[in-house]
């Protein structure tokens, strides 16, 4: 019903007040500096991810959702991983209203192609605020952008 959301949506999740958790919004910030194709939109969804994917994806148009977030999978800080909605264990993500994010993603996955690009964080101060992304995660940002560009079919001829 609305042409605000195109075929491919890239959602950067996380909170820049918690150190490396600012990874998702930071990637989106840098993506916005690039000229993305018309069928792609990058959104900094911050702390509203679960609400966003229920109400803001366009039913008729959106075909692909790429989620950018930190994921703790026990690797070296700055390592990237690619996950599908099925790979997320239930309850691994908790959103503000005690719903976990995996449930909405699992409900959506038959309608929209969902991909999660996760980066292993180094420093997420659990309850204290701290602004700033660690060097390892910072170094992963350009690589993440390359992965995303490849995923959405942008060929700059330099990767």
């Amino acid at each position: 019903m609305d042409e605000l959301y195109p075929e491919i949506v890239i959602a950067g999740c996380g909170n820049m007040l918690f150190g490396d958790d600012g990874f998702g919004p930071e990637v989106v910030e840098r993506l916005k500096e690039l000229a993305l194709p018309d069928n792609v939109k990058a959104v900094d969804v911050g702390l509203g991810g679960p609400h966003f994917c229920f109400t803001m994806l366009d039913n008729d148009v959106t075909r692909k959702l790429i989620i950018i977030d930190i994921v703790d999978f026990g690797a070296e800080p700055g390592t990237l991983t690619r996950l599908r909605a099925e790979d997320l264990p239930p309850g691994s993500y908790r959103d503000a209203h005690s719903w976990d994010l995996t449930e909405p993603l699992n409900r959506l996955k038959d309608f929209v192609d969902i991909m999660v690009i996760g980066c292993q964080p180094k420093n997420v101060p659990a309850s204290d605020f701290e602004i700033g992304i660690s060097k390892e995660v910072e170094d992963a940002i350009p690589r993440t952008i390359q992965v995303i560009l490849k995923e959405i079919g942008v060929e700059n001829g330099n990767s």
């Binding site: 609305d2 605000l4 959104v43 702390l47 509203g48 609400h51 229920f54 109400t55 209203h97 605020f129």
Partner: protein
């Protein structure tokens, strides 16, 4: 002989909180303490030394449900401190944002409140996620209303969740005539939906009022006629938008506000002597565990005229529209009554907006360290931010957020209800706990002694 029961954590609201309840032999609450257990983060500490442009961005990231309210309140507290008046069109854009935020947040609360309610004429509780009618269409309507709120928020605010367009002095950019037309179309589409939704929800709540019992954990719990009643006052600064210290007639009065420690307000150490494994979800805390509300609470206790007050939709309707229904259901109904108002105001503001008008003043002062405050009527109530800005840098910043005001008030409202319905009373306030968590310590003369940050 009183018994103590603890529900931890409470569910279906934002953040982490718990209930410690002293109950009599019939399970009726004699004294209730509703406390925040979200750890203190110290956002006020983080703000010191940052630029006045950056602090509202930080405030916005405290919560993903009402980032618009925090952004606007923080920006306006900076403007109040530096003495900066914003152009009319910037104000109209902010008003549209405010209404968009209220529309999507109130609709979200319906999803959280519905599972406590019954389908009229049956003993079946409502599951908002069921694919069956009539609930399916209701859920779709709620999502459409939220989509309208968030889309309008994105058009005006520049981002779907955390708005990037508002700035100290006004807005970075005005919107195009096409965007204005889009807002009008969306709002006009939402208007009949908001009416249907309000009428449906009020019917559901009225039906609940007629019931004698509610099922909790497999038991029939009697519903008292005065569920959630309290005798505290109300605080609201505006029916829709807000007030700040720049106003000719401000409607919030810092001199009437004091903040005391949870130590002086909540119960001391108690041993839990009543447990109910059948209570959803996963039973209450085991008997023999210790609870210590006055030490565990992570919020200060703000008082207005020396008393806790209620803020939120009902407070606004009581102050400005002579609304007089008390109790939890009264609160829910007040919230529904605000849905259409939010859409009407959005349309009015969009009509009045001049898309080629200036949205930033010619000069933005950099501040001399005077204190300024701004109170924004967020979906959950009055969100007051206070700031001191000198040479563009923030020297002091404090957030007095809606649920902080409601914690002690709701604790009073718990008395007299069966303990199993305690969470239902809490949900009437649509709590948002993450941003409500911060603490200061003051001595007897109300001087700030130390910021207390708990692990």
């Amino acid at each position: 002989m009183s018994k103590v029961v603890e529900v931890s954590p409470t569910t279906r609201h934002e953040g982490h909180s718990k209930l410690v309840l002293k109950v009599n032999d019939d399970g009726i609450i004699e004294r209730g303490d509703w406390i925040s257990i979200t750890p203190v983060r110290g956002v006020e500490k983080l703000a010191i030394g940052k630029t006045m442009e950056q602090v509202p961005k930080i405030a916005s990231r405290v919560c993903g449900i009402c980032p618009i309210a925090h952004t606007l309140a923080a920006i306006e507290s900076m403007e109040a401190s530096i003495g900066c008046e914003i152009p009319e069109d910037a104000y109209l854009l902010r008003l549209i944002l405010q209404c968009a935020n209220r529309l999507h947040s109130h609709a979200l609360h319906e999803i959280l409140a519905l599972p406590d309610m019954y389908l009229p004429g049956t003993d079946t509780k409502i599951n908002p996620f069921t694919p069956e009618e009539p609930v399916r269409s209701v859920a779709k309507r709620i999502q459409t209303l939220r989509m309208v709120g968030q889309t309008v928020g994105e058009i005006v605010g520049g981002e779907a969740v955390h708005p990037s367009n508002p700035r100290v002095g006004g807005m970075y950019t005005n919107i195009t005539p096409r965007a204005k037309a889009k807002i009008n179309d969306l709002a006009k589409m939402a208007l009949p939906l908001a009416r249907e939704q309000m009428e449906f929800m009020i019917a559901i709540y009225r039906n609940f009022q007629k019931r004698d019992w509610a099922e909790v954990g497999g038991k029939e719990i009697p519903i008292p006629k005065d569920l959630g009643y309290h005798n505290q006052g109300y605080m609201a600064v505006d029916p829709v938008y807000g007030s700040s210290s720049l106003d000719e007639n401000p409607t919030w009065f810092p001199e009437r506000w004091t903040e005391v420690r949870p130590w002086d307000w909540y119960m001391g150490e108690e041993e839990i002597t009543l447990e109910d494994p059948s209570y959803p979800v996963g039973g209450t805390t085991k008997a023999g565990t210790k609870a210590w509300p006055q030490m565990e609470a992570c919020t200060g206790v703000p008082l207005y005229d020396g008393q806790p007050v209620e803020v939120g939709p009902r407070a606004r309707l009581v102050q400005y529209k002579n609304y007089d229904e008390k109790g939890t259901i009264g609160q829910h109904i007040a919230r529904e009554m605000e849905l259409m108002d939010a859409v009407y105001k959005m349309i009015e503001a969009a009509d009045a907006l001049n898309c080629s008008g200036a949205v930033v003043p010619d000069v933005i002062p950099q501040g001399d360290g005077s204190i300024g405050w701004a109170a924004n009527e967020a979906p959950r109530g009055c969100d007051t931010h206070l700031a001191k800005v000198r040479n563009g840098k923030v020297e002091w910043f404090s957030m007095l957020v809606p649920t902080t005001w409601n914690f002690p008030t709701c604790s009073r409202a718990l008395e007299g209800a069966p303990w199993q319905l305690g969470e239902m009373i809490v949900r009437g306030y649509d709590p948002c706990v993450s941003c409500a968590t911060h603490m200061i310590v003051i001595d007897e003369d109300n001087r700030l002694v130390a910021e207390k940050l708990l692990e």
